[in-house]
């Protein structure tokens, strides 16, 4: 379950606050997956006191620079919290960031990124420090996103590992060194359009099973 409480001292009216929160959550919390399971209790509250504005000041109105600045700060806070959640996923040893570009539609970008981020085989490979890009290819291929395999490209930790749907020889020792980073970045270009997205997850370790095999006891 995720629960978040966010506050601001900016003056924002309730209906505008909701629009801003929906956008921020859509680009942050709703882009996190630890185990592909959606909780019964997920909730995110946003409260605006207006206490930093002079008495009687006009509320921030959508379309103004003030509202844009507020949305930027809100988005930063939500994305920061979302990344913390992924990094602290049960049993996690690594934060995993999956960037998908070149998708035909935003829905395709999301489907492909989520397929990679939810794949137990990709997540265990990350845990094992294995740059096993074939599992990434498998995940995007089964995702339902529209693309041609000969147009796909994959990087792991900034290292090209697949181009044109085919393997690219890479330095395994360098890959192992890069897997020491606390954040593992997987980049995928589907070569099918201009849509892009980012999904955050974590690796999958023995501890996830230990924690969840014992949760109620």
């Amino acid at each position: 379950t995720m629960i978040a409480v966010v506050t601001t001292d900016a003056p924002v009216l309730p209906h505008d606050l909701h629009k801003a929160l929906a956008r921020a959550a859509g680009a942050s919390f709703n882009k996190v997956t630890v185990d592909s399971d959606t909780s019964t209790n997920d909730s995110c509250f946003l409260l605006a006191s207006g206490a930093a504005a002079p008495a009687g000041a006009e509320p921030f109105a959508p379309g103004t620079p003030a509202f844009a600045a507020f949305e930027q700060a809100l988005g930063d806070v939500c994305q920061n919290l979302a990344r913390q959640m992924a990094a602290d996923g049960e049993g996690a040893t690594r934060l995993v960031t999956v960037n998908v570009t070149g998708a035909a539609t935003p829905a395709d970008a999301d489907a492909a990124a989520r397929a990679v981020a939810n794949s137990p085989l990709v997540k265990t490979a990350v845990y094992g420090h294995d740059a096993n890009w074939g599992r990434v290819a498998m995940a995007i291929g089964k995702s339902g996103a529209a693309f041609r395999q000969q147009d796909a490209a994959i990087d792991i930790m900034g290292m090209p590992v697949c181009r044109g749907g085919l393997t690219v020889p890479f330095d395994e020792d360098e890959a192992l060194r890069r897997f020491e980073n606390p954040e593992i970045v997987i980049d995928v270009d589907l070569g099918a359009g201009d849509a892009a997205t980012t999904v955050w997850t974590c690796d999958f370790s023995h501890d996830y099973v230990t924690i969840n095999g014992d949760y109620r006891s």
């Binding site: 966010v6 930093a52 919290l81």
Partner: protein, 223 residues
């Protein structure tokens, strides 16, 4: 083609490292970084371990604008149903916004799959918090996290909420962030600010701050 992980050997990376890839920086503080809010985290008794905080309270000095998004899981918990209704949304997915004064969160028990009894517990919680902080029950939002399918006892709220309300502080955000943890290994806080000078609010600095928990059963799909 002879290539290696070295971009110079053949293929350029899809995403050259740049500052644009850096995650947003966070300033110190969390849910009480913004002015006008106090918070607290206490052990109320939802958990057996008395050293473990299990009740968080975030309270605005005055009733304020509020919005929320909630899980789309059909099997949504009682606190989701009650809080959504408090913010004027009768059905899942309807925009939920209005006025609120307080948010109360317990950890250790999700109050999910608990039927009418769970709903009444969530509603009673809003009354208890409202009495303690001095606001109507309909300005209190409630959330729970923990085990699904067990009835949430009301007694820890009856004893814990008055004690929590008495300890509310502008410095209480960190304890509140700890109190909502379940299998999380770390509390999660973040804050950001922006200057009002160039946006028509000269002399003002605005803050956004927050706390979150989440470690397992995580693929939020909130609307």
């Amino acid at each position: 083609v002879q290539a290696s992980g070295d971009p110079a050997a053949g293929f350029a990376p899809l995403r050259p490292p740049s500052s644009a890839d850096a995650p947003p920086a966070s300033e110190p503080g969390g849910v009480t970084r913004a002015r006008g809010f106090r918070a607290v985290g206490v052990h109320a008794g939802f958990r057996k371990d008395p050293s473990r905080l299990d009740l968080a309270l975030v309270v605005a000095d005055e009733p304020c604008a509020c919005a929320a998004v909630f899980t789309r899981n059909v099997f949504c918990a009682a606190p989701v149903t009650v809080s959504r209704a408090q913010l004027g949304a009768d059905q899942p997915g309807e925009p939920a916004y209005g006025t609120a004064r307080a948010v109360v969160v317990n950890s250790g028990n999700a109050n999910a799959a608990t039927g009418e009894r769970g709903l009444e517990t969530a509603r009673a919680t809003t009354r208890i918090v409202g009495d303690a902080v001095g606001c109507p029950a309909d300005e209190v939002l409630v959330a729970s996290t923990g085990v699904i399918g067990e009835h949430l006892p009301l007694e820890p709220f009856e004893t814990g909420v008055p004690a929590a309300a008495a300890a509310l502080s502008p410095d209480g955000g960190a304890d509140a962030a700890r109190a909502i943890m379940t299998t999380d290994t770390l509390p999660k806080e973040a804050a950001a600010s922006f200057d009002g000078a160039d946006i028509g609010y000269a002399g003002c600095t605005f803050f956004v701050g927050g706390m979150a928990k989440g470690s397992g059963m995580i693929m939020p799909n909130m609307a």
